[in-house]
């Protein structure tokens, strides 16, 4: 699959990453290189091998349903640029 500059701009937009024309060109080359590598790997015969969804062949550990977290609102909100009445404030998201 060959990428073009429009794909790069679209991917950048989806990821909310701002890139200029020069950066888009450079990214096109890098991303195409990664896709080339994947294409190369796809040539490997994997018949009969169960696909893995994680690099380690282990399963998820579960936690008991017990409350362990305390209210740390004040501490956590000291990071936030704007808060009011306990809410995090962000630029209005609906018009």
């Amino acid at each position: 699959m060959a990428l073009n500059i429009t794909d790069i701009k679209r991917i950048a937009h989806l990821a909310r990453i701002e890139i200029n024309e020069a950066e888009a060109q450079a990214t096109l080359i890098k991303l195409s290189g990664i896709l080339g590598l994947i294409e190369q790997m796809q040539a490997v015969n994997t018949t009969g091998i169960t696909p893995m969804s994680h690099s380690q062949d282990v399963v998820q550990r579960l936690r008991d349903d017990v409350i362990t977290e305390i209210n740390q609102r004040e501490l956590l909100q000291s990071n936030a640029p704007a808060v009011a009445d306990g809410l995090y404030l962000v630029p209005k998201v609906i018009e």
Partner: protein
């Protein structure tokens, strides 16, 4: 042209766990904003999700209840999108390998049964809540407020095949599902608090056509009434659009309860490009046969099985059995009343009639019914033994409603009999007493008696009415009929 509507549902059920799906923060409803938003819910860098065992058990329970295959291995994936109430920039969900596979739910519409196929059910986390109508002025002007208490609350999203063909079927399915998730105790079913919300996919096609039309998705319906209105409006709108030569664009729409209309949300140009990929922070989730067996052991008798048992064991009609199994609380109340009174049919009648009406009028759930099963059983016992008439029983229930609670005496047959005798509600079955009443009535209504003897049948009913009135409704009507007939023919 005749049109057919095709409907599929996606339902988000909030699982009844104490803590969030990936962290030990509380999920209790109604807390002060962000007091239950821990480092995982607020997505601080470096934190890792740890899966809640209880959320997994809830999913397994649901899978068992709909006879679905439960995946021995399922995978969590990241669904990527940007919104302020989703601080990570992705929602952890399941995509290619959900925990619950294909299952079935049987619904009833009118007197017809229909099987609705469930495609899948997967575990995911809820997002936070945004509020846009913050008080204006000061720093808040032009801002939205974010509360992340709900972020990370475990959800089970249940997806159907496009199997429903009317608003009535869609609502019957939603109600059935709503009943089931509460029955197996995985969701509190509180629609107002958002514990059970439905997205409805609607499309129309010419009747007989196999090809599906373009669908529009009605988001976040949280009442069955709105669901009916929204589907009916949407169906009409789509048919009219097509008949006017228009085309349906795939879209997400919102239902406005004030206008009764559905309206397309601003179309997202990058809609549905969520770029799912397996979440590297979570390992595959394994469910073993032993896990399933452990959950199976905690499963209550399911509504369908219980319905069949009520028909067989208590001789209820299918309809009554369905009514008595509409919730676990109903079933429990019915079974206790039926067992104590040994009158299952009467118990079902009272429960679906008078008791239901009284509960409705006071807006009380049957689990808090002011008349406990023992007391209703006592009343039913008196009806069965003809100590009181059916009508008297119905008349006194509103009165008992107020006095019975906590009254130990009234929870026995004898106690109830004593109470009702004192109230003067007990039926008169004594033939000589009824005879005396009838003699009085005949003496006072000689003209009527003559009319009957002259062949006017209606006069008989009038005389029965007079006798019942004279006994204040307590004379056994069958005996009144019989004795009156005898007297008039002599």
């Amino acid at each position: 042209m005749e049109w057919e509507v095709v409907i599929g549902l996606e339902t988000h059920t909030q699982l009844q766990t104490k803590t969030k799906i990936f962290s030990g923060a509380s999920t209790a409803f109604g807390a002060e904003p962000n007091t239950q938003a821990d480092v995982v819910s607020t997505a601080l860098p470096g934190v890792l999700p740890v899966l809640n065992r209880e959320a997994v058990n809830c999913a397994i329970k649901f899978g068992l209840a709909i006879n679905a295959e439960i995946a021995p291995r399922s995978v969590f994936a990241r669904k990527n999108y940007f919104y302020p109430d989703l601080p990570k920039g992705y929602q952890i969900s399941q995509y290619e390998l959900p925990i619950v596979g294909k299952g079935k739910l049987t619904i009833q519409v009118g007197d017809k049964e229909k099987i609705i196929n469930i495609t899948r059910a997967h575990l995911e986390e809820d997002a936070g809540k945004s509020s846009h109508d913050l008080k204006s002025g000061g720093a808040v002007e032009g801002m939205s407020g974010i509360d992340l208490n709900r972020a990370g609350t475990p959800l089970l999203e249940i997806v159907t095949e496009p199997d429903m063909r009317s608003a009535a079927e869609a609502v019957a399915y939603a109600k059935k599902l709503h009943e089931l998730v509460q029955w197996i105790d995985i969701c509190d079913g509180n629609m107002q608090e958002g514990s059970f919300r439905c997205d409805v996919n609607v499309s129309v096609r010419p009747k007989g056509s196999e090809k599906l039309g373009t669908r529009r998705e009605i988001k976040n319906l949280n009442s069955f009434k709105f669901m009916t209105q929204a589907i009916e409006y949407e169906t009409r709108w789509q048919i009219e659009t097509l008949e006017d030569g228009g085309k349906i664009q795939q879209a997400t729409v919102l239902f406005n309860p004030d206008t009764g209309e559905t309206k397309s949300m601003r179309s997202k140009e990058e809609a549905n490009d969520y770029r799912y990929f397996p979440d590297p922070d979570l390992l595959p989730l394994e469910v073993t046969e032993a896990d399933k067996a452990r959950v199976q052991a905690t499963m209550p008798e399911l509504p369908e099985a219980m319905k069949a048992r009520f028909e067989a064991e208590y001789g209820l009609s299918r309809y009554d059995a369905a009514l008595m199994t509409q919730s676990t609380a109903h079933a429990k109340y019915f079974e206790q009343t039926a067992k104590i009174s040994n009158q299952p049919k009467l118990a079902a009648n009272f429960l679906s009639g008078e008791i239901a009406a009284l509960l409705n009028a006071d807006n009380i759930d049957i689990s808090n019914c002011p008349i406990p099963p023992e007391n209703l059983a006592a009343v039913i016992g008196l009806v069965a033994n003809q100590k009181i008439s059916n009508k008297t029983a119905k008349d006194i229930l509103p009165n008992l409603w107020k006095v019975v609670s906590g009254n130990f005496i009234l929870s026995t047959y004898e106690g109830m009999l004593l109470h009702l005798t004192q109230m003067g509600a007990v039926q008169i079955n004594d033939a000589s007493a009824i005879e005396a009443i009838i003699d009085g009535v005949l003496a006072a209504n000689q003209a009527m008696a003559e009319e009957f003897k002259a062949g006017k049948e209606k006069a008989f009913n009038a005389l029965v009415g007079q006798a019942m009135k004279a006994s204040k409704g307590k004379a056994n009507p069958a005996q009144v009929n019989e004795i009156l007939k005898k007297k008039l023919s002599s």
